[in-house]
Amino acid sequence: MQRWKILLVAAFALVVAACSSGGGATTTAGGGGTPTTGGGEMAEPLTVAFVYVAPIGDLGWTWAHDQGRLAIEEEFGDAVETLYIESVPEGPDAERVIRDFAQKGADLIITTSFGYMDPTIAVASEFPDVEFVHISGYKTADNVATVFGRMYQPRYLSGLVAGKATKTNTIGYVAAFPIPEVIRGINAFTLGVREVNPDAVVKVVWTNTWFGPPEEKEAAEALLAAGADVIAQHQDTTEPQKAAADAGGFSIGYDSDMRAFVGDTVLTSPIWNWGVKYVDIVRQMLDGTYEGGYQYWGSMADGIVDLAPLSPLVDADTAALVDEKKAAIVAGDLDVFCGPIVGANGNTVVEAGKCLTDGEMLSMDWFVDGVEGEAPAEAPTGLGE
């Protein structure tokens, strides 16, 4: 009598577990159009599959990628079919999801988190006819390309806004993990802050999570309590923005234009326009001109990264300054990491007249002068060329 009941519950648990992992694929046909019947011969649509690390509802990182997916559907209509799976954990699960997409006949698979790098490479070697695009990694193969953006450019511009806005000369920065991508953002932001406000400091708190609504809120509140009146962030949700607004402070968003979700206290947001590159890739695949295996690190000039429109609370002088600097960056006249750059420990990292190389930027593990917080390494000397 006992055993079958336990088996029943165990079976139920298994079914539930199977259903909850990954949440199941969602298919959407482009433009919502119905398939043509009879008559005209219709080509198979190009199938583009996305693997997302968080729910689209994060309103940040994954939301921005999904906007890119929607841009593809908008652009190509019935010529493409897109698939996606949300909340795929980085690790063995990811490899299973990616392989599943490849087996189902996806033509292009876009994996949108750093931790999908090795699974993507592994699956790609088994499916040479499928093209893969991995976001933010550094490994490539004949059919695996990497795509990322020079987010430090809009980060620097948002630093100008924050530096002008702070009254307490203390800016808080809620940061996920001490990895080069995040540190590069903090440094670029701080260079912007100090350019307009040499007295301001940027305090960094690590949350050690990309996606943790309570942690992000608590970290922001700790920074506000420590005297910060502007909160910037490198996380996946809008919680730091809400905490700043609740405390009567300002904030700088990230990933998407968070002003749309939180209000005008979000002065601006460095944003991703993944659609720009995704549409480009899909167009090349449809034309038959696509060539995989490249490394792409797009800039503001390419449009993959940008600064969201400024809040009406930003004064006209600041807005004019941001416009001027943005134009210089887009024109290629201004580079963020050019000397003289002084490290947090007082070392002159980059001398005047030199600029950091891409390699040095991609391995950055030190803080510039003006950042208060724990960096993995001390600032070195003699970088740049």
């Binding site: 009941k5 336990i6 909850s20 509802g57 943790g212 309570p214 608590e218 509140e221 420590a226 809400k242």
Partner: protein, 316 residues
């Protein structure tokens, strides 16, 4: 001093949901039912409470709905483990997994007109300072400048403690958790007590979720609870099944995150991961102590029949 006050205030605010969930689970476990579904009940409470608050425009309606939903989920666990005598661990885990998936599903369509709840702004609880008391040094802002659900805890915790430790029905509850055979022989309805205790635990877990989505991090984000249900279960062991100690534990668990972020912001160099680990480390210490020393285990109140199904017909 100011740092102490602000950290204490955050510890109370962050710990409130943990107290609700842990006190509920204490009552459930005192009756001998282990419910590992706290995380699932909490997140379902959070999403339905927020949806109900948005629909009705009243945060209190949300709390009631969240509590009811938590109770219904606990009822499923009670049916599986008490009536069907299924394995309590398996059923509880199933509840957590099902709750997490269902909450994500509902979050995408419970908004007005079937819209997603994500990113929506709804009614919420604000801090209501109590005149005079909130001006007390140190404890004033921490205890008397909070939201209504925190104040409600000032009643719930002493009431539950008094009920469990000092009343006849409370004695019956403990008897069922210690030795259901003896309790049955005494004329206590073992099944009824276990059902009531499990559902009560579910209601409090639902309210715990409501505190998250209506006060602590207002709004709905997927994975909102972020493992707090599991912390609550660890907290029950940490508190050795005593509601009063659960409050202390919740302040510690709730405060430690806030404290580690404060310390980082103040520029100290204690590694954050070390601080984050502390509550769990303490839980393991308590677990080792109560497992190692049998006498202490009884004194500290671990229910002897915890996790065991009761069958009247079974001879022992």
């Amino acid at each position: 001093m100011e740092l102490v006050t602000s950290v204490l205030a955050i510890a109370v605010f962050a710990g409130a949901s943990l107290v609700y969930a842990a006190v509920g689970e204490i009552v459930t476990e005192r009756a001998g039912v282990l419910n590992l579904g706290v995380e699932g009940m909490m997140i379902m409470g959070a999403v339905t409470a927020f949806a109900a608050a948005v629909a009705s425009g009243n945060a209190m309606v949300g709390v009631v709905v969240g509590g009811v939903v938590g109770g219904i989920m606990a009822l499923v666990h009670a049916f599986a483990t008490i009536t069907l005598r299924a394995d309590q661990v398996v059923s509880g885990l199933a509840l957590t997994l099902a709750g997490g998936g269902l909450a994500s599903f509902l979050g995408q369509r419970l908004g007005p007109g079937g819209a997603p709840l994500v990113g929506m702004v709804g009614p919420r609880f604000h801090g209501v300072p109590i005149p005079w008391l909130s001006d007390l040094p140190v404890v004033g802002p921490a205890l008397f400048d909070q939201d209504v659900l925190v104040y409600l805890l000032f009643l719930v915790v002493p009431a539950v403690w008094f009920f469990v430790a000092r009343t006849r029905p409370g004695l019956a509850l403990r008897a069922v958790g210690e030795s259901p055979q003896t309790a049955d022989a005494m004329g206590i309805g073992v099944y009824r007590v276990r059902y009531l205790a499990t559902v009560f635990g579910g209601v409090l877990a639902g309210i715990a979720g409501a505190h998250l989505s209506l006060a602590y991090t207002p709004g709905w984000t997927e994975h909102l609870t972020g493992g707090r249900g599991w912390i609550a279960i660890a907290l029950v062991i940490f508190a050795t099944w005593d509601p009063r100690r659960a409050v202390l534990g919740a302040l510690l668990f709730g405060g430690v995150n806030a404290i580690q972020f404060r310390l980082q912001a103040e520029g100290t160099t204690i590694p954050a991961s070390l601080l984050n680990m502390m509550p769990y480390l303490l839980t393991i210490v308590v677990l080792v102590v109560i497992t190692r020393f049998e006498a202490l285990r009884h004194r500290l109140g671990a229910p002897a029949a915890l996790g065991l199904a009761y069958d009247r017909e079974e001879r022992t």
